[in-house]
Amino acid sequence: MSVLLETRRLLKQFGEFRAVDHVDFRVQEGEVLALIGSNGAGKTTLVNLISGLLRADAGQILFRGQDVTQQTVHQRIAAGIARSFQLVNLFDQLSALDNVALSIFSRQGKTRKLLALAETDRPVWQEAMDILHLFRMESKARTLAGGLSQGERKLLDVAIAYALKPRLLFLDEPTSGVSTREKAPIMDTISAVVRSEHISAAIIEHDMDVVFSYSDRIVAMHQGAILADGTPDQIRRDEKVLTTLIGTPETTP
């Protein structure tokens, strides 16, 4: 496997606070990776830096060997980096189908067209419908995004990012705010799509069951730095991770 994304000594400060403190982080081609860590560990900030929502104060971001540190969000998306959001970010007054179709129009550069009717572009709507089918949401195609359940909103959020045909997909807590019962189906769906299309995915997640069952590799962050990096089995036995993040009965005095 080759390296898809690499950060070199990436730094982001908010005042004196180092949210991301000289982080070297890697994503391999085709892997599903979990980013874990307590609140404030710097996971979301790291994703914000890589996706372009925030600008790094120092360090480099290399994507497929190219330096994207100074690139705009638009350029990074064109290069193949997409993301979903922790607090669901949808176009609430558009239908689920319209939400996905917009991604496709954008990906194909068609949103620059003023003098063409969006409705008559059948291939785009067909693809949007196929994507909703992949995410098991075709029955909700006509529902306004604002009227979907939390679980559906989470899936749609991922579907919108997926429709950009990324090589690397960041998922910021794809199961937060949904019931425990709903978590497994959501992760099954996402995992099936990502693995069948060989998309590299980095998932920020708090639920350890989800983390251990769906990822190939786990990166644990603590206070802006990477604490541990390994397979689920390695992380499960890692002393530092156990004491700082998971907190087992044996380690508490």
């Binding site: 638009h74 970010n89 063409a116 409705e119 196929d130």
Partner: protein, 332 residues
């Protein structure tokens, strides 16, 4: 894509359904000069012109989520371009007037837009208003060019190179010019309808709903806002150019921010959440204002009162309320 199992029932999404109500409306507008008196036709011509202005304005408010308080500027640029073409170039062709107004508005909105689209919400509103007031003061102070408060006179133009208003000006305005305005109005409505239903129009609505996410599906929001700003301003400017021959005179009043307020008002009155809202609002507002002026010298007070009642009772505007009543009636 692995599986293809679902198809889209396209007939549900057909844009052609809209023609169902557009055609009857057009028939009424075409037939009107034969039915009503000249005064009513001219009044409607004013309404249609303001409809174009509000339609342009609503591309920003209703579709992009930006409240401009400076659209009087573009209306004024359109109107003054025509007046200055008459004064300095001796032009009388209406087509040249419209072309000139479009060029002038593209230039002005392109420059103003660069500054304005960096901001949203109240900051955007204030900036557009401030810039429009700059143009107003230019029209007001440079009296040797613009005629100051006396304004500039504009004679009846030549339409399509053949039809002139020599002789009976009122008859000209109520027939030939009315149809000319109607023609441009239909073109503008059709063009705007395509724009808001284009992939670009979808992108604008996405920016309106959720700016951050729009950026993260790859839409360069400032560029798109700038294009929307430009198109919006040009539509309103075109309305200004059509308005001058009707009025026969352009004064700095139409550049003043209070006129921007009127454009905002007619759009909200009709309903900014629907495509036809601004058009209906503009025509209704035009009638209200005209009759209020005819009824009392305190017409602003009367108009204000009527508008407050209308907005309080119809918060989604005339078209929004009509849509709801229609849906309720159909559900029975």
């Amino acid at each position: 894509m692995s599986t293809v199992t679902t198809t889209i029932p396209l007939e549900h999404r057909s844009p052609l359904r809209t023609l169902g109500w557009a055609l009857p409306a057009l028939v009424v507008l075409v037939a009107l000069p034969w039915i009503t008196e000249q005064y009513q036709t001219i009044l409607l011509a004013y309404g249609l012109v303001m409809g174009i202005a509000a339609l342009g304005f609503n591309l920003l408010l209703g579709y992009t989520g930006l409240l401009s308080f400076g659209h009087s500027a573009y209306f004024g640029v359109g109107a003054y371009t025509v007046a200055l073409m008459v004064k300095y170039l001796g032009v009388s062709s209406m087509e040249l007037f419209l072309a000139g107004a479009i060029v002038a508005c593209v230039l002005v909105t392109a420059i103003f837009g660069v500054a304005c689209v960096r901001y949203t919400k109240i900051f955007f509103g204030i900036l557009t208003m401030a810039l429009s007031q700059v143009l107003w003061s230019l029209a007001f102070k440079f009296f040797w060019v613009t005629g100051g408060t006396d304004g500039l006179r504009v004679p009846t133009p030549t339409l399509l190179g053949v039809v002139t208003g020599k002789g009976d000006k009122i008859a000209f305005l109520a027939t030939s010019y009315y149809y000319y305005v109607l023609g441009v109005f239909v073109l503008c409505v059709a063009l705007m309808w395509v724009i808001v239903n284009s992939p670009f129009g979808r992108a604008l609505q996405a920016i309106r709903d959720n700016e951050v996410r729009a950026e993260f599906v790859g839409i360069q929001i400032r560029q798109y806002r700038w294009v929307a700003f430009l198109v919006s301003g040009v539509f309103t400017g075109l309305a200004g150019a059509l308005w001058v021959p009707l009025n026969g005179l352009t004064t700095p009043d139409i550049m003043h921010w209070t006129f921007s307020g009127e454009i905002v008002f007619m759009t909200v009155l009709g309903g900014f959440r629907s495509f036809t809202g601004p058009i209906v609002g503009a025509i209704v507002f035009n009638y209200l204002k005209t009759y209020a002026i005819g009824y009392t010298v305190y017409w602003q007070g009367l108009l204000g009162l009527v508008l407050v009642v209308l907005v309080l009772s119809l918060p989604t505007g005339i078209v929004g309320t009509a849509d709801r009543l229609w849906a309720r009636w159909r559900a029975k």
